[in-house]
C-alpha cells in the first residue's frame, strides 16, 4: 500500500520518441524528477498551503485550550498567549465534567456495536455466499435494497419501539439499531465468494460441518476484510450523533459526541474549556489513527464504496 510514484519525465530530461526504447528506464526518469520544473513548484506550494489550511482549525483549538480563560476571551486575538500556556482548562474539564465517563460510554457502545455487527453480518454473509438455501436470492435482494434507507427516516418509529421495549436511556437502545448494517453484509458476501471453494469442499469431505468450515477456514482467510469492516463500523459508531442524541437524556449514559453538545451551553463563555473538551474528545481516534494509519486507510478504501 505504499504510494507508487509514476515515473514521469520533465523538461530537464525527456527521452526522444521511440528512439531510446527500453533505455529510458524508470530510474533515469526519477533522476529527472529532482530537477524542479515550474509546474512542480506550484504543485508543492499548493500542497503545503492546503495542508496548513487543513491543520489550522485543529491547531487553533489546541492553542486555545492551553490558554487561560481570560486570554482566550481577550481581543485582539493573539496566537501565542502573553501570559504563557496553562493546562488549567484540561484540569477543570477532567475534574468537573463528565468527559471521562462519556469516553467510557463511547468505548463500550462502539466496541459492542463492532463486535455484534461483525458476528451477525459475517454469519449471514457466509450463508448468502455459500449455502444454497431456499429463499436466498430474494433475501439477498431485500438486504441490498435496504442499504438505501436513510437512518433519519427511522428515528421516530425506532424511538417509539424503544419506548415500548422499555429501553430508552440504556446502552442497548444505543447499540441495537446500529448493529443492522446491510452494506457490510454486502461487502462481506462479495469477499467470501472469492475464498477458494476447493478448500471448503475438502474440509467438508473430511466431515467438517458448515459452522466448522466457516470458523476454521473462511474466517482466518478473511482477516483483512474483517479488520476493514471492523474499523469502519467502529469509527462510525464512535462518532454517531443523531441516534444516541435522541435516545439518551441521562447524562451518565451519553456518548462523547452527545455529551459535548449538551455541555456546550454549560461551559458558556469558557472558551478554553470548550476547546479542551473538544480536543480531549478528538484525541482517542487521532492516536489510534497515528498508530494504525495504513490499516485504517486500507480499511476505508475497501469498505468506502459499499459503506458510505
Amino acid at each position: 500500500m505504499t504510494t507508487t510514484v509514476a515515473p514521469q519525465p520533465n523538461a530537464a530530461y525527456r527521452p526522444g520518441p521511440r528512439r531510446t526504447g527500453r533505455l529510458s528506464a524508470a530510474a533515469n526518469l526519477r533522476v529527472g524528477e529532482r530537477f524542479a520544473s515550474p509546474g512542480r513548484i506550484v504543485a508543492i506550494v499548493a500542497l503545503v498551503v492546503m495542508a496548513v489550511g487543513w491543520l489550522l482549525p485543529f491547531l487553533w483549538a489546541v492553542v486555545t485550550s492551553f490558554k487561560s480563560e481570560a486570554t482566550a476571551a481577550a481581543t485582539p486575538v493573539t496566537l501565542l498567549p502573553p501570559d504563557g500556556f496553562t493546562t488549567d482548562a484540561y484540569t477543570s474539564v477532567l475534574r468537573e465534567g463528565n468527559v471521562p465517563l462519556w469516553t467510557w460510554n463511547s468505548l463500550v457502545t462502539a466496541v459492542a456495536i463492532t463486535a455484534l455487527t461483525l458476528a451477525v453480518s459475517a454469519l449471514a454473509a457466509y450463508a448468502l455466499a455459500r449455502v444454497d438455501f431456499t429463499g436466498r436470492k430474494w433475501l439477498f435482494w431485500v438486504i441490498v435494497a435496504s442499504i438505501i434507507v436513510p437512518p433519519p427516516v427511522l428515528i421516530v418509529p425506532l424511538f417509539y419501539e424503544m419506548l415500548a421495549l422499555n429501553l430508552v436511556d440504556t446502552y442497548w437502545a444505543i447499540i441495537l439499531p446500529q448493529v443492522v448494517n446491510p452494506a457490510m453484509v454486502f461487502i462481506l458476501k462479495k469477499f467470501f465468494e472469492q475464498v477458494p471453494i476447493e478448500l471448503e469442499d475438502a474440509a467438508r469431505m473430511d466431515g467438517a460441518g458448515r459452522l466448522r468450515v466457516f470458523w476454521n477456514i473462511v474466517l482466518p482467510l478473511s482477516r483483512p476484510i474483517l479488520a476493514a469492516v471492523g474499523i469502519f463500523v467502529f469509527i462510525a459508531a464512535w462518532n454517531n450523533f443523531l441516534w444516541p442524541f435522541i435516545i439518551t437524556s441521562d447524562a451518565s449514559l451519553m456518548t462523547l459526541p452527545v455529551g459535548l453538545q449538551t455541555v456546550k451551553s454549560a461551559y458558556g463563555l469558557q472558551y478554553a474549556q470548550t476547546m479542551a473538551a473538544a480536543v480531549l474528545a478528538a484525541l482517542p481516534l487521532i492516536i489510534v489513527f497515528l498508530f494504525f494509519q495504513r490499516q485504517i486507510i486500507r480499511g476505508f478504501s475497501t469498505t468506502g464504496f459499499g459503506g458510505q
Binding site: 435496504s146 438505501i148 453484509v185
Partner: protein, 316 residues
C-alpha cells in the same frame, strides 16, 4: 491444514462457484435450507426488529395523528401528507437541503480530487499529508462543529482575525442569513473531504504504471498525461464518489443543528432537522413520519435517477 491455508492465500481472487452441484439431492437441499436460515437468523432478527419493522411502522404512523403520549393513533388518511405539502417550513427545509447538497457536493469532489493529485506526486512526508487531509474525517460531528464555531466567532475567531490582517471586514458568519449556509458548507468541506480524497488516492494508485511509461516514451509531458491518462481513468471513481456524496449531503443534520440550530430564521434548517423537531419537540410522531417518508421518496428518486444516468452512459 496450515499448508492448505497458505495455498489459499495465494489462490485468493479466483472465484469459487457458488452454484449448487447438479447432483444435489432434495434431502441435501432441505438441509442446506435449514443451515442457511440458521446462519442468517441472528442478522435477520436485528434486521427485522430495528430496520424493517420501524420502516413499515413509520409508514403506518404517517397515516395517523399519533403523538408521543399515545393519543391520536387512528387512521387519518393522507392528511399528514397534505399538510406537509402545504407547509412552508417543510418546503423551506427541503430546499435548504437541496441547496446544501448542490453547494457542498461540487467542492467536496473537486477539492478531494486536487488533494489526491497533489499528494500522489510522491513528495516526502506522505503520512503527514494524509494525516492533514484525512484526520478531520475521524472527528465526531460535534467536535468538528465546535472547532468551527470557535473559528467563526465574530470577535475572537481566527477567520475574522486573519481577514482583518489583509484588511477585510469580518462577518458574524453563523448569524448572518447571507453567510450561514456558506459557513456550514466550508465546515463540511473541511470535515469530510478526507474521505473523497482517500477514495481518489486509492484510484490513482490503481492506474497501471505502464500507461505512464508508454506515454512518456511517446514524449507526453506531465500536463498531457494528466488530461490523457489520469483524469479519464478516474471517471468511474468520480461517478461513484458523486453518487455517495449526494446521498450523504442530502442527509445533513449534525453540523447544522450544532452550529446554527437551523437558523438564522430557518435559512439553514435541513429537512432531517424538521423531522427531528416535528417528532421530538412538537411530539407529532404521525406528522414527523410523513415528512420522513417524503424525504425518503426524494432520496430514492435521486439515487435511482443517478444510477440510471450513470449506467446508461456506461453502455453508450
Amino acid at each position: 491444514m496450515s499448508s492448505a491455508t497458505l495455498g489459499a492465500r495465494t489462490g485468493r481472487g479466483r472465484t469459487g462457484s457458488a452454484a449448487p452441484a447438479p447432483t444435489v439431492t432434495g434431502a441435501l437441499r432441505t438441509r442446506d435450507t435449514r443451515i442457511g436460515w440458521a446462519f442468517v437468523a441472528p442478522f435477520l432478527v436485528v434486521f427485522v426488529m430495528f430496520l424493517l419493522w420501524p420502516l413499515l411502522h413509520g409508514l403506518w404512523l404517517s397515516f395517523t395523528g399519533q403523538s408521543i403520549t399515545g393519543a391520536g393513533g387512528e387512521f387519518i388518511g393522507f392528511a399528514n401528507y397534505a399538510e406537509a405539502l402545504s407547509d412552508p417550513i417543510m418546503w423551506r427545509s427541503m430546499l435548504n437541503t437541496v441547496w446544501f447538497t448542490v453547494l457542498s457536493t461540487i467542492p467536496l469532489v473537486l477539492v478531494g480530487l486536487v488533494m489526491a493529485l497533489l499528494v500522489f506526486q510522491g513528495l516526502p512526508g506522505q503520512w503527514l499529508w494524509r494525516l492533514s487531509f484525512f484526520m478531520p474525517f475521524l472527528l465526531a460531528s460535534t467536535v468538528a462543529a465546535q472547532f468551527w464555531i470557535w473559528m467563526y466567532n465574530p470577535q475572537l475567531g481566527l477567520v475574522n482575525a486573519m481577514l482583518g490582517v489583509v484588511g477585510i471586514e469580518g462577518q458574524a458568519w453563523l448569524q448572518d442569513p447571507q453567510w450561514a449556509m456558506i459557513a456550514v458548507v466550508v465546515e463540511t468541506l473541511w470535515w469530510t473531504v478526507g474521505f473523497n480524497f482517500l477514495l481518489y488516492l486509492t484510484a490513482l494508485q490503481n492506474i497501471p504504471e505502464q500507461q505512464y511509461e508508454a506515454s512518456a516514451l511517446d514524449g507526453a509531458g506531465r500536463w498531457r498525461q494528466l488530461w490523457a491518462i489520469t483524469l479519464p481513468q478516474l471517471g468511474p471513481t468520480t461517478v461513484l464518489i458523486v453518487l455517495l456524496q449526494v446521498l450523504a449531503s442530502l442527509k445533513v443534520f449534525d453540523q447544522i443543528y450544532i452550529m446554527t440550530q437551523g437558523g438564522p430564521g430557518g435559512t439553514t434548517r435541513p429537512v432531517v432537522q424538521y423531522i427531528f423537531e416535528s417528532g421530538f419537540t412538537g411530539y407529532r410522531f404521525g406528522y414527523a413520519s410523513a415528512i420522513a417518508y417524503v424525504f425518503f421518496a426524494v432520496i430514492v428518486i435521486i439515487a435511482v435517477a443517478q444510477l440510471r444516468f450513470t449506467t446508461r452512459r456506461d453502455h453508450a
